[in-house]
């Protein structure tokens, strides 16, 4: 049986043996792969925003990402952490791209660095770096900027297809002079218009149910408008407009097993259910649910922000509660609050609830026995 020449057998010396606890195998996944997957899922929307808002969109995304990575590197340098190790997991890059997705294309160039400091320093590194932050860094930055610099953060410009026709968003905010400018083909930078949600806020709500002669929101939620929103042809943040691109991103994330598909579905479903109900009862208070689905940051928030692993609950049940809460708050803020958009506030608020959700939606261990019975089992 020992047909092998015994002298030629190479035997281990044991010099390089490593002591470690089991398991000695690993699935091969890593933080970098996860973050890379998220970036991959964002690519369709990045491309869409470049198409809708022009090359400046690409620049803003790149610029914001660089700002965030630089902020991370600077902090790690100052805090005497391993700079390369902290940057190379790509989490700062993902935060940067997500933050850029929440900015309008015309955003002044001093805003992204401020946002990066808010996101990376204030919302992430002071808590001890990746994994320890209770709030989504990109959303903290967005909300912080929205409160501190409302003008810069709501400087919307019309998207590619909007230049020709007189849409309600333009009628409200366009001056005759600006229209002339567009017609003459002059550059559009600095020209502002409203987002459809902003227009919705400006329309006075009519709670009188007998009011049926003319739908309050006809101009906003007609089929023509909805189909326009569906391709993302509207004013808005860089990353929130193009529904098909975002949904493609959703499928990428689900296929790569990076998110729990229930979160976006429940989130969006709750918003549509609530707005749909309100629309059916008081058509003068809310446009139809499709309008809510395709406008504002609902898709972006539901697919990329609410599913952030660090700041969402751990168990499936907890995630469902979390998504449901996000949906309810989003609808309430959109319909009755001062801000036209409620997604980021809703997610941020639910982030704060995550520890409680985790505590109350825990799993029951296999073979768990409630305390009273346990005593008997031991005896």
């Amino acid at each position: 049986m020992t047909d092998v020449d015994n002298d030629n057998i190479k035997l281990p010396t044991g010099e390089k043996l490593v002591l470690s606890s089991s398991p000695h195998l690993s699935s091969g996944s890593s933080l970098r792969k996860i973050m890379g997957g998220v970036l991959l899922a964002l690519i369709p929307q990045i491309a869409a925003s470049a198409w809708l808002f022009g090359m400046r969109a690409l620049f803003i995304i790149f610029y914001t990402a660089v700002c965030c990575v630089a902020a991370e590197a600077l902090w790690c340098k100052l805090a005497d952490k391993d700079v390369w190790r902290n940057i190379s997991d790509c989490s700062a890059c993902v935060t940067g791209v997500l933050l850029a997705m929440c900015l309008p294309v015309t955003v002044p160039l001093y805003v992204p660095p401020l946002g990066a400091i808010l996101a990376i320093w204030l919302a992430k590194q002071v808590y001890g770096g990746i994994g320890n932050n209770p709030f989504n860094p990109a959303l903290v930055a967005r909300v912080g900027l929205l409160i501190a610099l409302p003008a810069a953060m709501t400087l919307w410009t019309p998207s590619r297809g909007m230049k020709q026709t007189n849409y309600p968003e333009k009628q409200l905010f366009y001056t005759a002079e600006n229209i002339k400018k567009i017609n003459n083909g002059e550059p559009l930078d600095g020209v502002s218009c409203a987002t459809p949600l902003g227009v919705m806020k400006s329309i006075e709500k009519i709670t009188d149910r007998s009011f049926k002669a003319e739908d309050n929101f006809t101009e906003l939620d007609s089929w023509e408008m909805i189909s326009r929103y569906a391709v993302g042809d509207r004013a808005g943040c860089l990353g929130e407009t193009c529904a098909p691109a975002l949904i493609l991103g959703f499928f990428i994330l689900v296929i790569l097993n990076l998110i729990n598909w229930k979160v976006p579905v429940i989130f969006i479903g709750t918003v549509m259910l609530i707005t749909g109900t309100v629309n059916a009862i008081w058509p003068g208070v809310s446009p139809n649910p499709l309008f809510h689905l395709l406008n504002g940051g609902l898709l972006l928030g539901a697919i990329f922000m609410a599913t952030d692993m660090v700041t969402s609950p751990i168990t499936g049940r907890g995630c469902a509660v979390f998504a449901c809460g996000c949906g309810i708050l989003t609808s309430v803020i959109r319909l009755w609050g001062n801000y036209p958009e409620g997604v980021s506030f809703a997610i941020l608020f639910m982030n704060a609830l995550v520890p409680l959700i985790d505590r109350w939606c825990g799993k029951r261990p296999f073979g768990f026995v409630p305390k009273r019975e346990k005593v008997n089992a031991h005896e």
Partner: protein, 278 residues
């Protein structure tokens, strides 16, 4: 008129509320032992847990209840213990002060083993008996340093070293150490033997160049000052005649295992800065 009305209203309201509070005080009366407060005030207040209780407040309660003596608080000074005993009118208990010593010089004597895992001594010790060649030596992952409420332990290179001037003798490090390499010694002693392995000399020598080889030279030269526990030399701290620097020179330990705290720190620093052994 306004003045008088205000006076009446204030007065009435005050009286009513005062009466209600008074009734409640009678209804929900709680007996309190003010000796607890007194003891708490006199305790060091470091909440180190060295006494084995959940903080100084708990210890104060136990003091008042007569479960412990002031000497059970390892951190308090001799004066503090006496003061507490006097204030509470109880016996002071043992009052001699202690300090911790890490009895190992693996940093200059032993090879390092490959280890991948939690940087905590107790956790590492569970993996195949711990990542050191010697089973009795310091693991150097700093569990003692983290648990020390006074910041008295420093990890120099691969081994923990106690700063005697900061150590209060609370024993927390000795309790947490999985290797029992931290010994409690009288606070006034400053010369120690830095080895903890009771193993046979041959095994010890194959593992660590700085381990006590049990040649018994020191025992012969310094009778009464050094005693032997199996294969391991130990300083007799109870000896009335304390070991001195001259004694160290006199016995000229072949592995230089007997040294003062100061020298030990210098050696460790030197080994750490001079690069690790290959």
């Amino acid at each position: 008129m306004t003045f008088y009305t205000a006076l009446v209203i204030m007065g009435l309201l005050g009286l009513t509320l005062g009466a209600i509070v008074g009734v409640f005080v009678k209804l929900f009366k709680v007996e309190q032992d003010n000796r607890v407060e007194l003891a708490l005030e006199l305790l060091p207040g470091a909440n180190c847990g060295g006494c084995g209780r959940a903080g100084c407040a708990d210890f104060a309660r136990a003091l008042a209840a007569g479960e412990v003596t002031p000497g059970n608080c390892p951190v308090s000074s001799v004066e503090q213990r006496a003061a507490i005993a006097m204030a509470l009118g109880i016996d002071a208990g043992p009052i001699e002060m202690q300090q911790a010593v890490v009895c190992c010089r693996a940093d200059i004597g032993a090879e390092e083993m490959n280890y991948n895992g939690v940087q905590d001594c107790n956790a590492a010790n569970l993996v195949a008996g711990g990542p050191t060649t010697c089973r009795y030596g310091c693991l150097g992952l700093g569990s003692c340093a983290r648990v020390c409420p006074f910041g008295a332990i420093e990890i120099v290179g691969r081994v923990a070293v106690v700063h005697p001037e900061l150590c209060t003798g609370c024993k927390q490090c000795a309790k947490v150490c999985p290797r029992n390499v931290i010994k409690m010694v009288p606070a006034n002693a400053n010369i120690h033997i830095y080895c903890n392995s009771p193993e046979k000399a041959a095994i010890k020598r194959s593992l660590c160049a700085a381990g006590c080889i049990g040649c018994r030279k020191c025992e012969k030269l310094l009778p009464g000052k050094i005693k032997f526990d199996g294969m391991l030399a130990q300083i007799d701290y109870d000896s009335p005649d304390a070991i001195t620097q001259e004694d160290i020179e006199k016995c000229n330990c072949p592995v230089h295992g007997i040294m003062s705290e100061k020298e030990r720190y210098a050696v460790a620093k030197n080994a750490a800065s001079g690069g690790k052994r290959a």
